[in-house]
């Protein structure tokens, strides 16, 4: 007994799954008061749970399945409850057929039901096989105004759905969140924007930096720069995420580092005075292509690609606005202070340039100098 355990343990990690784990496929369609659907449960799972192979010869025949129809139905329906916000709906099995999935034959329970009133909210309670196999999942495909999907697990047996777009909302929130965090945790975008914004309330003159007399024009300038940057990166981000364009990541990442260097140096030795928005537009194209890699890794949900893309873009936008919102008021308040102009702008820009340079070298030459979140 002990011996097999030893060697078996060593090879087990390399074991590949010959079979799929246990899943059931539940489709439901809510149409006014009526519920229609199909629930596919693996014959193998039913055999383990209630025993269908009556003659024990190892072959489950259609005759054996048919003979066990009542037992199968009773067993399954104990594990499925559907309610509206106020009362349970009546649901039953009207027919038993067979459905083939990638790992074999399933019993297909054809479901029919009705609720007292046309529901706005549907609560599904799923509790099938969890006591026998906690790795079992119930994959739900719900047509309730629009298609929504969900996976039932032992720690998630009860899910509520709102008519039309509950899932869309959660997709939106998820991608918005991802967009926000991508910028907040992507130091290169932060540094570039910070570098661009540091002198936003100063005026670039040939004598160097002078305070802007009014907030209005400074804000307008900032707004122009931010908008151009935004439109540009939304453009490349969307194109890259949709797979229309694909650029080598080393090139893109090196260019991003180059924009950071440029933003820093331009504060120290102003090279561009006017038309900063055009420059921002060009740089935006580069940053958009870089941000797209995060989105590609995440993937876009089929059926909600546009929504997810929009949400991700809005998240990126919101994150950038927070940076502007933090940097701009501070710099406006301190714009007359020589300390701000010299120490913060000059020193800050030097730091930005330095970090940007290190990134540029690392990324362009693919060597590792120092790590700080690049």
């Amino acid at each position: 007994m002990r011996r097999w355990l030893f060697v078996w343990a060593l090879l087990v990690s390399n074991a590949v799954h010959a079979h799929k784990p246990s899943d059931s496929y539940l489709q439901l369609k809510i149409d006014d008061r009526r519920i229609g659907g199909e629930w596919d449960i693996a014959l193998r799972d039913l055999e383990y749970a209630i025993g269908i192979d009556a003659n024990g010869d190892g072959a489950i025949t259609w005759g054996e399945v048919r003979a066990q129809r009542d037992a199968i139905t009773a067993y399954a329906m104990r594990g499925l409850k559907i309610q509206t916000s106020s009362e349970p709906c009546n649901i039953s099995v009207s027919d038993l057929q067979i459905a083939d999935h990638s790992d074999g034959a399933y019993a297909a329970l054809i479901l029919n039901g009705v609720c007292e009133t046309a529901p706005k909210i549907i609560k599904v309670d799923y509790d099938l096989l969890f006591d026998l196999d906690p790795t079992h999942h119930g994959l739900l495909n719900l047509d309730f105004g629009g298609t929504q999907t969900a996976i039932f697990r032992p720690d998630l047996r009860h899910i509520e759905f709102r008519e039309n777009g509950g899932a869309a909302w959660s997709t939106f929130l998820q991608y918005l969140h991802e967009g926000l965090w991508h910028v907040w945790t992507g130091y290169d975008h932060m540094l570039f924007l910070g570098g661009l914004m540091l002198p936003a309330v100063l005026r670039r003159t040939r004598q160097g930096w002078l305070p802007a007399p009014k907030l209005g024009p400074a804000l307008l300038d900032t707004f122009r720069i931010a908008t151009a940057f935004t439109i540009a990166h939304a453009l490349t981000l969307s194109l890259a995420a949709m797979g229309v364009i694909s650029l080598p990541s080393r090139l893109v990442e090196s260019l991003v580092a180059a924009t950071v260097v440029f933003a820093g140096i331009n504060n120290l030795f102003p090279m561009a005075y006017r038309g900063l928005w055009q420059l921002a537009f060009f740089f935006g194209l580069i940053h958009g292509a870089a941000i797209a890699s995060a989105l590609l890794e995440l993937g876009l949900p089929s059926g909600q690609r546009v929504l997810a893309l929009l949400a991700f873009n809005l998240g990126v936008e919101a994150a950038q606005l927070t940076i502007v919102g933090v940097v701009l008021p501070i710099s406006f308040i301190f714009r007359y202070s020589p300390l701000y102009r010299r120490a913060v702008v000059i020193l800050g820009s030097m730091v930005i340039t330095g970090i940007g340079l290190i990134w540029l070298i690392q990324r362009a030459l693919a060597i590792h100098l120092i790590s700080f979140g690049s």
Binding site: S13, H17, K20, D40, G104, D133, L139, I151, L296
Partner: protein, 406 residues
């Protein structure tokens, strides 16, 4: 369309093992295929273990005992061990789920009984939850440093995670409680990834020479290691011979070891021996990993016939099913599929990078490098290069890809 009662080549140790749930030869990519009513009552829809199958009977007996006393630790452990044994032999995740259910009363306890910790780690490991497995094994070994089984499993997990040095430390502490062949294989497996491949191979050869001639699981393991080491060292002739010896041991044991077969298939396809691979694997398509190698071999022969197209569709369907479920246990295989069979190197690279976060064996390094090369993204190879520097692994396959990337 329906499933026919298909005859299957023996997958297990005894002929009875071949009676496993038959995978669909006919299936649909769509998870929601239209249901149908079979034509006759006699139509066979699925294969399950027969009532006479000794393993199924043993498991059923233990299940009955457990159902009488679900809180009894001995009954639960006995059932779980039997379920895991069958699950391992058949590479069938359902049995791992059955074992988890049996351990239910203790499953959520951090401070579970020792035997539960080790079994729970085994289940976590099977589902690629390597960190959870290590947490359990660390606890088990802190409690009882002499638990050889926990130590052996931890060594394996550490090696899969790409830490051969830590694995070697565990192998070194196995002591006298395990057979010499097992402790040697454990240590050689780890040290062969740390710049000591030639010494590891020589040591394995020596211990194998001393061991009895009968085929055993541990011998199969040691011979598989020798073949892999020779292959990594670029000793093609030695590797060829070592793989043949390992296959002979496997045949003598009457089993099909998916790990050995996959490694041998990868090697043989590279050597231009795809037709031999097809001959051996064509009856084993219900194991995902071997279906992948079979399809790769068919691809390598260049004649893209119906069988190739069918196998490629089957692979795609299995990956789709796993994705739908939300599983990430197929990242390595799917990456290989996307790169070599589906001509989608950028998807392959994404999968290989994701895979590298959990699995860091030489084959994981190889697929990541190959995908980086195919997409011309040299920086994607940096993590692997760093790992190669740290471990000092000797692997001609990895060196060849890196050389070609320069």
């Amino acid at each position: 369309m329906h499933l026919a009662a298909t005859s299957r080549r023996n997958m297990g140790m005894r002929p009875i093992h071949s009676v496993i749930f038959s995978l669909g030869l006919v299936f649909s990519l769509n998870a929601y295929a239209a249901p149908y009513v079979p034509l006759s009552d006699a139509e066979v829809l699925a294969q399950v273990p027969t009532r006479l199958d000794p393993e199924a009977r043993a498991l059923a007996g233990l299940r009955q005992q457990l159902s009488k006393a679900p809180q009894n630790l001995d009954a639960a452990v006995a059932y779980a061990e039997e379920a895991l044994k069958i699950g391992h032999a058949r590479s069938d995740p359902r049995y791992y789920g059955y074992a988890e259910a049996a351990l239910g009363p203790w499953w959520a306890l951090n401070d579970a009984p020792q035997r539960v910790l080790v079994l729970r780690a085994t289940i976590h490991q099977f589902f690629h939850a390597f960190d959870s497995a290590r947490t359990d094994l660390d606890r088990a070994l802190a409690r009882n440093p002499g638990d050889s089984q926990a130590r052996l499993i931890r060594a394996t997990v550490l090696q899969v995670q790409g830490y051969p040095d830590k694995a070697l430390a565990d192998c070194g502490q196995l002591g006298q409680q395990v057979a010499v062949l097992i402790s040697t294989a454990c240590a050689s497996s780890a040290s062969s990834l740390m710049g000591r491949a030639k010494r590891a191979d020589a040591l394995l050869g020596f211990v194998l020479d001393q061991s009895k001639p009968d085929a055993t699981d541990s011998k199969l393991w040691a011979e598989t290691l020798r073949a892999e080491i020779a292959e990594r060292l670029g000793r093609t002739t030695d590797a060829q011979a070592a793989y043949q010896r390992a296959l002979a041991t496997m045949d003598a044991l009457g089993v099909n070891d998916a790990y050995l077969l996959a490694a041998w298939a990868d090697f043989s396809i590279k050597q231009g021996q795809s037709s031999v691979v097809i001959d051996r694997l064509k009856g084993l398509a219900d194991v995902d990993n071997l279906l992948l190698r079979l399809t790769l071999a068919e691809h390598a022969t260049g004649k893209h016939d119906e069988s190739f197209a069918q196998h490629k569709n089957m692979l795609e369907a299995r990956f789709a099913a796993a994705r739908q479920r939300g599983d990430a246990v197929h990242l390595r295989e799917e990456s290989i599929y996307q790169l070599h069979l589906n001509s989608d190197p950028s998807t392959a690279l994404g999968l290989a990078q994701k895979n590298w976060k959990t699995q860091r064996e030489p084959i994981d390094a190889l697929i990541l490098l190959e995908a980086a090369q195919a997409t011309h993204q040299a920086d994607a190879a940096l993590l692997v290069k760093e790992w190669m520097r740290e471990t000092q692994i000797e692997d001609e396959r990895l060196n060849a890809v890196l050389g070609a990337m320069k």
